[in-house]
């Protein structure tokens, strides 16, 4: 008998959700972290949400995860990004108090009876195909029926600033060098990615009169249906812009940047670039926006969003002081980059289990993702599937047409990523349906498959669903001056607020208004969503023809060598998945179809 059923390595955003999910399935769960004081710590910007990411946080809520409620509890300010781009791409984003968020997530673990142990994992025990637990630095063995790795940037993490580099998972933390070696010794294919963070500034060293205040949105928003209160705006954010002087300092100093001097070999995120990247890629542009965000309520420290850099300290000082209002700014912690090991595409499947193992799972940045929200969502899936495996239940996979979680997991496994993967709304084929308002409705049936929802959560959902159905019926049946209300909904200028008046719904009841909003948007977009789903099926013309029983593609003689290698590593489940692998060309697809047809004929005779 093992001491635990599920063991999670790492206490960041992925690890916490993994442990929380495993525990909600009833598994005896333990989480091991090198620093117990930094549970779910926001190592980079003090905010949660954004375009697609905020929608993902609401999916986590619909799947019974912890992040959404903690985000509400620790929020300092709320903004709905993309307000003028359409409800489908609205991106809820909350400025967070870093310590409050960490405390809220620790509290969640406590409530879920997850054991939290402080220690550094040095290796995984047992053979890879069936691991049996882990060993810590002091030699302690902890046994478990399944293990979820959520090591973030800690696997042989190396921090860089200027010409200096030193081992560490992030500023002030150790690097998990031994565990990384164990993973390499187990012959997993790994790659090196890098990411970076901005300098932190002392709040009272900035002249705010030179900055513009970032408007907050008074929208009565909450990420979680379980939160009793809406997010309150408790703090202020500020906006400044880089000057020509800023850009010229950076351009002259590129030789000192570990990114450009060749010291970092890892691949960085294209869409969350370092300031060095921005200046190099857009040399003609000046006045890059820089957001100034508090690390916490009344915190002495502010985060400089948009100025991620790993230039030497003295250059960072000069860069910061070139910003309007920052002439006397004092940096309390310098920016740096971190280079870390993560798993190659092809090593894990869509349940987030490593293919080479029966009970070893992966989540978060070691999958190649970037971002707290992406980490948390994959953590939830890996933790729940690990628990399901232990309990002898079927593991489950989210559908990319129903959730951003599904989009992300499918992309990571089937398409792979050559840089830290960040969610974008445009990664989905069904964007008009993957909205933040209907996240719980989209993921509900998958949540039931996962088994993560409590009885209370199911009852709450069913209440909301009843309201949804009743409003939908009202809207469909009611006629105003001979026109049906559902046709009126489809007019571009009509919003749920107008409809609420027509059906006498109390605009002050935020839950009811939220549900009506979903009814109205579903009606507005239903035609487009149906066609998008149809297009997706047409594109997926190979449908769900299973490739499961092709053990080795070397038996398929007529495909190219590249295609064969790619198919052998990725092991697509269906022909349509095979088609989405770049190395597999149309001719290879034709050859595969022929191969399958011939085989089925020879089987029949």
């Amino acid at each position: 008998m093992s001491e635990y059923q599920v063991l999670v390595v790492g206490g960041g955003h992925a690890g916490v959700e993994a442990a929380f999910a495993a525990s909600s399935l009833g598994c005896k769960t333990v989480l091991i972290t090198p620093s117990i004081s930094k549970i779910a710590f926001m190592s980079c910007n003090p905010a949660i949400g954004g375009i697609a990411k905020g929608t993902l946080v609401r999916e986590i809520d619909g799947l019974g995860g912890a992040a959404a409620e903690s985000a509400d509890r620790s929020a300092l300010q709320f903004r709905m990004l993309n307000m003028k781009k359409g409800p489908a791409v609205w991106g809820p984003r909350a400025q967070s108090d870093v310590n409050e968020y960490s405390k809220a997530q620790s509290q969640k673990l406590k409530e879920a009876r997850v054991h939290v142990i402080e220690g550094l994992v040095t290796r995984i025990s047992g053979p890879t195909d069936r691991v049996s637990g882990v060993t810590l630095t002091d030699g302690t063995n902890i046994s478990s029926d399944a293990v979820v790795l959520a090591a973030g940037t800690f696997l042989k993490g190396i921090l860089h600033r200027g010409t200096k580099s030193w081992p560490g998972g992030r500023r002030g933390d150790v690097s998990a060098t031994a565990l990384e070696q164990d993973i390499r010794d187990r012959l997993f294919h790994v790659k090196r990615f890098k990411t970076g963070t901005s300098p932190r500034i002392l709040r009272n060293s900035i002249d705010k009169t030179a900055l513009s205040q970032q408007e907050s949105h008074d929208l009565k928003f909450r990420f979680s249906w379980a939160s009793k209160e809406m997010i309150r705006n408790r703090e202020e954010c500020w906006l400044t812009r880089t000057t020509e002087k800023t850009e010229s300092i950076v351009k002259q100093s590129l030789g000192h940047s570990p990114l450009y001097s060749g010291r970092i070999n890892g691949t960085g995120p294209r869409y969350c670039p370092s300031f060095e990247d921005k200046v190099t890629k857009f040399p003609d542009r000046t006045g890059h926006p820089i957001h100034l965000e508090p690390m916490g309520l009344s915190s002495r420290v502010m985060y400089l969003n948009g100025l991620s850099t790993s230039l030497p300290e003295e250059i960072q000082d000069r860069i910061v002081r070139s910003l309007p209002g920052f002439q006397n700014a004092v940096i309390s912690a310098y920016g740096y980059s971190v280079e870390y090991t993560c798993f190659e595409t092809g090593e894990f499947d869509e349940t987030l289990k490593l293919r080479a193992s029966d009970n070893l799972f992966v989540s978060g940045q070691i999958l190649g993702t970037s971002g707290y929200e992406e980490a948390a969502a994959t953590g939830l899936l890996a933790g729940a599937n690990a628990a399901r495996k232990v309990l002898g239940r079927k593991m489950v996979v989210p559908d990319r047409m129903n959730s951003y979680l599904g989009v992300m997991v499918n992309d990571l496994v089937m398409r792979g990523t050559d840089e830290p993967y960040r969610l974008f709304s445009s990664r989905s084929e069904n964007r008009l349906n993957l909205r933040q308002d209907n996240a719980d409705r989209r993921v509900y049936s998958f949540a039931l498959d996962l088994g993560t929802l409590s009885k209370g959560q199911i009852a709450d959902y069913e209440n909301r669903d009843r309201l949804y159905e009743s409003y939908k019926k009202t809207v469909e049946n009611k006629r105003i001056k001979g026109k049906s209300l559902s046709d009126i909904c489809k007019r571009p200028e009509v919003s749920h607020v107008d409809i609420a008046q027509k059906i006498d719904l109390d605009a002050g009841d935020l839950t009811k208004m939220g549900i009506l909003e979903t009814v109205v948007l579903d009606l507005k977009y239903s035609g487009y969503v149906k066609r998008a789903e149809k297009r997706y099926t047409v594109r997926k013309r190979y449908g769900n023809v299973s490739l499961r029983d092709i053990e080795n593609y070397s038996t398929v003689k007529t495909i190219t060598i590249e295609a064969r290698e790619a198919l052998n590593t990725r092991k697509p489940r269906t022909l349509s998945e095979a088609e989405s692998i770049p190395a597999v060309r149309q001719a290879d697809m034709d050859a595969l179809v022929l191969y399958l047809m011939n085989r089925s004929v020879s089987r029949e005779t």
């Binding site: 375009i51 990004l81 359409g86 709304s425 571009p492």
Partner: protein
């Protein structure tokens, strides 16, 4: 004949008139070698993007331009022979080429090859067909697709990055959308002009009620689009619009109504193309010649059903232009003709762009982007009616 896709074809590509210069076009496997031999050139002198000046088999002193495989109009090895336009010269050159193994091209066969080899899209062919006297490839379907892709990247940039990087703005989107709208409408007009529409022939013996029906359709439920004389010999033909699509109604009085004689039947059958349909009217329910009854797209009407109470005959629909009996079924039959496929599809594209503009106006960029995605999908559908293209190609001249 058509199944040999890359055999050597040749044709005079300029009008038969006295002119300074004429062009004889040659395309297919062996085009270069054939002309090299006839002009006494070294092997390879006219292979790839080359030009040669010299004597052509003692007929004329001329210029031959060679286009490389994959990069010519047809996508094949292709040579344009520019000779003097004196009477007989291009003809003698063509005969010489024929002697050397080339086949005289069918009308539109060069364009057909360009289409098959992916050098032109179906819509390009239709666009060309509407202006086929020029070689203008102006507002082609490809340009529209390119523009749509550009629009997509602007839209996505605005959605994903404008909050932190300020890459696009709404005004830019409006300008691009309107530009695409103008382009699509121009394309629609060209394709509409080019399309040869499926027709419905109304036929049957004398006094079967054809004219009554024709007048009823012509006069009331329909919109006259154009009148094309002579399409069905002595009959009258009208383009009308029924149930949202354009079709051609032919009152085939010219067939005399009696049992069709051999010649008339051959003429009729040769004028019926795929997609066309026949309405055969006869109050006595006598089946016409097998050649007609065996066609799948025939609706048999037992006409004058209002004053003709004989028992019903299986396979014959009781019909009366007076009482309206059977009219619904007739309309259904007519509606089931192939939609004026390509123009119908571009009509849809134009309508969608209009929707995208409206969505952007109401600050729903995500919806605009969705609609543009839908348009791209519509525009890229490769199964665009090949019938329509084949029909358009028939109207091309030889040498095009």
């Amino acid at each position: 004949m058509m199944d040999q896709q890359n055999d050597l074809i040749a044709a005079i590509a300029t009008p038969e008139a006295v002119s300074a210069i004429s062009v004889v076009r040659l395309s297919g496997r062996g085009a270069s070698a054939t002309v090299e031999k006839l002009m006494n050139l070294e092997q390879g002198k006219l292979t790839g993007r080359r030009r040669a000046v010299g004597d052509f088999a003692g007929i004329d002193y001329l210029v031959a331009i060679s286009w490389p495989f994959g990069n010519s109009y047809t996508g094949e090895e292709m040579i344009d022979i520019m000779c003097h336009g004196s009477p007989g010269t291009p003809g003698r050159i063509l005969s010489k080429l024929e002697e050397s193994g080339a086949r005289i091209a069918l009308p539109g066969e060069f364009t057909r090859r360009a289409w098959i080899n992916g050098k032109l899209t179906s819509l390009d062919v239709l666009t060309l067909s509407s202006e086929y006297q020029g070689d203008n490839r102006g507002d082609s379907h490809r340009d529209l697709s390119k523009e749509l892709l550009e629009l997509t990247s602007e839209l996505e940039g605005l959605i994903e990055f404008s909050e932190d990087h300020e890459v696009s703005n709404e005004n830019q989107i409006q300008v691009l959308l309107k530009d695409v709208h103008v382009k699509a409408e121009a394309l629609l007009n060209k394709v509409r002009r080019a399309e040869v529409l499926p027709r419905v022939f109304i036929m049957g013996p004398v006094n079967a009620g054809k004219s009554t029906l024709f007048n009823k359709l012509y006069g009331q439920e329909t919109v006259v689009v154009s009148s094309i004389p002579g399409t069905t010999r002595d009959g009258i033909s009208r383009q009308i619009s029924i149930a949202g699509r354009q079709i051609e109604i032919s009152d085939s009085a010219g067939f005399g109504g009696e049992v069709l004689d051999g010649k008339a039947l051959t003429l009729l059958l040769s004028s019926i193309r795929s997609g066309d349909r026949i309405v055969w009217m006869d109050p006595c329910c006598e089946k016409p010649a097998n050649e007609i009854s065996d066609l799948h797209q025939v609706l048999f009407l037992k006409s004058q059903a209002d004053n003709n109470t004989n028992t019903t005959n299986s396979g014959w629909l009781p019909f009366s232009s007076v009482s309206g009996e059977g009219m619904a079924e007739l309309f259904q039959f007519i509606s089931a003709t192939e939609k004026g496929s390509s123009s119908w599809r571009i009509e849809r594209i134009v309508e969608l762009i209009q929707q995208a503009i409206t969505a952007a106006k109401y600050s729903d960029i995500a919806l605009s982007a969705e609609i543009v995605g839908e348009i791209l999908f519509e525009a890229d559908q490769s199964d665009m009616s090949t019938d329509a293209v084949e029909r358009a190609l028939e109207r091309f001249c030889v040498g095009k």
